[in-house]
């Protein structure tokens, strides 16, 4: 089979975006939280809650926009849990993160089973917002520039997050909270409030990521559908060290490895699907091995902050 037919390339690009966008969105959220010193291990749970909410809302309202918003909103609500327990009370972030993951997986699975297991509805794909002129470019035009409007919104969000972290006062406070919360406190900043907002922002993105995964990447909700994307977001965040350009790059690389797998399935190369599914994770591990020394975390990551205690 020719490797560069229109269908092939389109499928490649579509698969590429479907995999990298949710990861990018989730990584953006995880980055904000991580820069402030909060490790969200519950990210998979939040994404699942967001995905389920988005699915339910879009089914009911027939609107993708409402679905995405619902996903983001539920993400914020869920991260309230994380917020109260990890940031305000200072409980072990790893334990709480695991609890949120279990809760997310369990609850959405139970709810889906209750309500949809018999009907298994699917959603139609969003009508693409075509960019005039560009979307007329053969092959590429159709896939890239006719993407659902969300794609452009995601890129816009990435730039917004970069601006927030690098150019604003609040971004400086977030980074200080992760580097040295004592300094922030002594400077008159409020460590708890800063981290709280960072966590809620993180929840917004994680929920949105789950919503994207459900609504756009797959068009439906399946229990435990995240399949490790949340944890990959954590890896991306750790490697990127707060640099948004790296977050985007790493997400795209991951999406690439998933797309390669999908595309291989279209060819006559006969690789078992298991290997294909494993491929992205192997890539991540290789990246970690090669860049082992540079996986750097903010010094205050995972440590709860209390003023004046030993």
């Amino acid at each position: 089979m020719d490797l560069f037919t229109v269908a092939f390339v389109s499928a490649f690009i579509a698969g590429f975006l479907a995999a990298s966008m949710p990861l990018l969105v989730a990584s953006l959220g995880e980055t904000i939280g991580e820069q402030s010193g909060v490790l969200n291990l519950g990210i998979e749970g939040v994404m699942l809650f967001g995905g389920y909410a988005a699915f339910v809302v879009t089914l009911a309202t027939d609107s993708f926009a409402w679905g995405l918003l619902a996903g983001a909103g539920v993400g914020i609500l869920t991260s309230l849990f994380l917020l109260v327990l990890s940031v305000l009370l200072g409980l072990n972030q790893i334990v709480i993160g695991l609890a949120v993951t279990l809760l997310g997986g369990g609850m959405t699975s139970v709810l889906y089973f209750e309500n949809y297991s018999r009907s298994t509805p699917r959603l139609g794909k969003d009508s693409p917002l075509a960019i005039p002129g560009l979307s007329d470019i053969p092959v590429v035009g159709d896939s890239v520039f006719s993407q659902p409007s969300v794609f452009w919104i995601v890129l816009g969000l990435a730039i917004a997050v970069w601006w927030l972290l690098v150019k604003t006062n609040f971004g400086l406070q977030i980074r200080a909270a992760g580097q040295n919360p004592n300094s922030l406190d002594a400077s008159g900043g409020n460590v708890v409030a800063t981290r709280a907002i960072a966590v809620l922002l993180g929840g917004f993105f994680s929920g949105l990521g789950g919503a994207y995964l459900a609504l756009i990447s797959t068009g439906t909700f399946t229990p435990f559908m995240t399949q490790g994307v949340g944890y990959t977001a954590i890896v991306v965040t750790m490697l990127a060290r707060g640099r948004i350009s790296w977050v985007i790059g790493a997400s795209l690389v991951f999406g690439l490895s998933v797309a390669v797998g999908t595309v291989i399935q279209l060819t006559t190369i006969n690789l078992p699907t298991d290997i294909i599914k494993m491929f992205p994770f192997v890539v991540v591990i290789l990246v970690l091995v090669i860049f082992a020394r540079s996986a750097y975390v903010p010094p205050a990551l995972g440590l709860p902050y209390s003023r004046g205690t030993r």
Binding site: N169, Q173, R175, Q179, L184, S187, G189, N190
Partner: protein, 537 residues
Amino acid sequence: MVSRTENRSGRSTPVLSIRHITKAFPGVIANDDISLDLYSGQVHCLLGENGAGKSTLISILAGMQQPDDGWIEAGGVKTSISSPRRAMDLGIGVVYQHSTLISTMTVLENLMLGDTGHITLDIKGAKARLEELGEVLGTRIQGSALAADLALGQQQQVEIAKAMWKGSKVLVLDEPTSMLTPQAVSDLEASVARLKERGLAIVFITHKLREAYAMGDEISVLRHGRLVKRIPPEELANSTEEEVKDVVLGAMFGEDIGVVGTETFAQELSAFSDAHQLRSPKSFSGIPPALVLDDVSTSDSMTETPIRGLSLQIHPGEVVGVAGIDGHGQRHLAELVAGQRKLAGGHVKLEGQDISHLGVRGRQGLGIRYVTDDRLHEGIVGNLSVAVNLVLKRIGMSPFWRFGRMDKVAVDFEARSLVDSFDIRTPTLHTRAGTLSGGNIQKLILARELAHDPRVVIFNKPTYGLDLKTVGRVRTIVRDFADNGGSVLLISTDLDELVELSDRIVLISNGRLAGEVRNDSPRTAELVGELMLGPSA
């Protein structure tokens, strides 16, 4: 050292008043009914030993803690300092003893950290303000420099600028000279003088009498949480150093003078006169060295300066002091001698034998011991009992462990004898070591390291942050050990301590030795200070 500048007192309303402040923690009253006033254009010295309650008072002023009782008056109006932000709004700036700068951020970023006026970072405005403050302080600081790259004296200047960022009425300096080179100390004194002229009220906290006398317009003495003596400006201005010394010492030690030692010793401890050596000078020529470091180097680490090609010898009975600005390789040096850090080059020899390949356990068995400066997180395991901590470096060894099992009787016996001989105050042998006070934790570590035939002991900042009684005890231990033939590597940022105890002092700078001073004249401290100014410092 420095002549006291004339103070311009507008002794009308104090800028800030502290009234009957009391703060208690479980088991101890840190501040007990303290009242004092701060006037604009005056330096008010708070004098007291470690543990007297100074840190608590500062954190109350900074808004980090709330008093249990009492109140604050700002310009005569009753108010409360409920948070660091509120302290800033009141014009109170605090410069802590240890840097609160974020080392991975630039000077400008650190300074902008408290700014919440606008959404976007106002870099231009910040640069302008930095220049303005730089002029006030008399220094130039690069806004784009990383805080980690600044010398300690410069870091302190940035901290002062930060404390004054929003406009200041009161500046609190917490033991500002403890880690500075003599040059940086005079820079600080000059800055303080200029700030006084501008009408700032300055609180200068120290445990060194001589500094308080030199810098202060007014002195308040703290002891065990109480304000035991106040020397008002008129009295201070009209007293000689001797007179002040008597008054203060009496207030600081009361009946403890007998316990602490002779009056002369007490003076040394409170650093009234310039410190001088307490041991008789010795000669070591002709005696083979006990420990030899032969061109040793360590590999880079993220947080500490590595050692590059350092050679040093320590003879039996000799105390070699290591002076230098904190973070110039002291930690690597201590660790490579102790066996905690692998060598990247060179050799370590003990009595002629090459021990470079031995780890902590091997070297410990040969008599090399390490009293670390990181007492809480490295020296002990807080959750384990005092008894277990005392045998912590002998896990698996008999008689404490047989066939892998712990012999509790043997451990308790050893622990009991160490607790008794080193006077470690603990409710039981099985109390969690982390609950002991700082002084007793240090005694625990000393007991452990000095048990069972020590030959070479590394002391890393052994008296830092301890109360004076324990300080005296520790220094006696070091002296006695050396007098009995032991070899000592004494690493410290306290020049007085080094002068008192060392036979010679070497200066470490950027991982290398930058010079040596024999401690055989009253000019030792001066000479070391000169070395620190030198080209390689």
